[in-house]
């Protein structure tokens, strides 16, 4: 007999009643999704881990203010979006030297992770996404990688649905130019070169 999967709200009630196990389940359920959003936003493995941890700390601190009427995923992503915005402000203030130092001291695990993540095609898509302004990029990420509806995205980023639609359109137009225009060029590069 299969055990009924607890809903997020049920887990939250248990957490507020002091259940460590419920907290573990809730965090594990959403960790990958939140991390993926943050990583695509920051593009930095270590920074993404730190920001993800901050997001979950903020989630735990604000859990008593969560109301059942809202989808938990949307509530959590609102925290994630705000944390990423704050993180951007901090990151832009950091010097290139600091970033370089951090890169030199990165552990082996993250290097392997980075090697995997740096395939040419992925880099190309990443560059295209990075070329978008922050407010357009977050809409694209929430819509295409996290399966959220326009209304939900509007609630998360605190804008109107029409604004979200417009940002999404502008972003897709830019991505089209960036990714699809370069496709022919990309396939040309993939052709084996003949030795002179």
């Amino acid at each position: 007999m299969s055990k009924k999967l607890q809903t997020d709200s049920e887990l939250i009630i248990e957490i507020l009643n002091g259940s460590q196990a419920a907290m573990e389940i809730l965090v594990r359920r959403h960790y990958e999704s939140v991390f993926a959003y943050v990583y695509r936003q920051t593009g930095d493995y270590h920074a993404a881990l730190d920001v993800t941890q901050d997001i979950f700390i903020k989630m735990m601190k604000g859990l008593s203010t969560y109301r059942e009427r809202e989808k938990f995923k949307s509530w959590l992503f609102r925290i994630a979006v705000n944390c990423c915005r704050d993180s951007f402000r901090c990151t832009s203030a950091r010097t290139a030297r600091e970033v370089e130092l951090e890169a030199n001291f990165s552990d082996g695990q993250s290097n392997i992770w980075d090697i995997f993540s740096k395939s040419t095609e992925r880099e190309h898509i990443k560059d295209a996404l990075d070329s978008l302004p922050e407010f357009q990029k977050e809409v694209v990420l929430l819509r295409f990688y996290h399966d959220l509806k326009l209304k939900e995205i509007a609630d998360i980023i605190g804008s109107g649905e029409a604004t979200v639609k417009s940002r999404l359109y502008q972003a897709l137009d830019k991505l089209k130019k960036h990714l699809l225009a370069g496709e022919g060029e990309l396939s040309e590069n993939k052709k084996p070169r003949l030795k002179p």
């Binding site: 957490i15 907290m23 359920r29 941890q53 979950f56 059942e68 989808k71 898509i125 990443k126 694209v140």
Partner: protein, 275 residues
Amino acid sequence: MKTKNPGSNHKKIIIDTEMTRLETLLNRYNISAVPHQQIERTVESLRQYVPKKQSLWNRQAERLADVLSTARQDAPFFSWGYWLAGIVLFSVGYWIITAADSHVYAIMLLIAPIPFILGLLELFKGRDTGMTEMEMSCKLSLREVILARVVVIGAYGVLLNTLLSVFIYYSQPGAYLWQLTLIWLTPFTFISAIALYIAQKVKSGYAVAFFLVTWTAAIILVQMAGFMVFLQTVNTWAHLLITFFSVIVLIYETCKMTDKYLLTTERWSHCESGS
């Protein structure tokens, strides 16, 4: 990743094939799984933020205090007609009993469950007027509001019936408070339980009208057929047994009703967790 178009207007600029190609490309920017140890580290760092476990007794006491506090806040939003109807009904009941000097049990039996039945109109006001969505957007969850309203209408019914019993006890020589209490408590809980069940199935206005008519007709028939004397001689344990089961049904129906509203607001949570 699912195929989706951002909006119908956008199709004019980004054609479907381009959209599909874009989606395919974006889909290739996948993120590999985070090492298990990293998630563990986060979980460990979050343990300090989990509230300390409370005993079951403390938890229930806290929950009860919350419901009572919500009930106190919600009571002023009840229609004044509801409060007035209860007071008028019981005043008239008391006047008939003292003036006519008879039918004490019949009158008490008749009016005992009416405050709760009328309260159903207030309980389901949001649902019947299509305001549930708006109530959901309030600071309190609909579940808390519904529970609080059940407490308010239940408490109002108990208060009116108790006051009537006390007044009759002091004004009518030979009346027993214990017997008077049993006379109102049994129909109050029994009819309230059935009414709450029915009101969830149909519009509360219909349920209230149905109960007012059938209950009044039933009491008149009982009175005419001479069964009132029989009812007064029913064993105390039978009264208590009916009351006990009625209270169980009332609690069950209240829980079922609040769970229904919880499920309504949690549709998304069910979807996202895949259950």
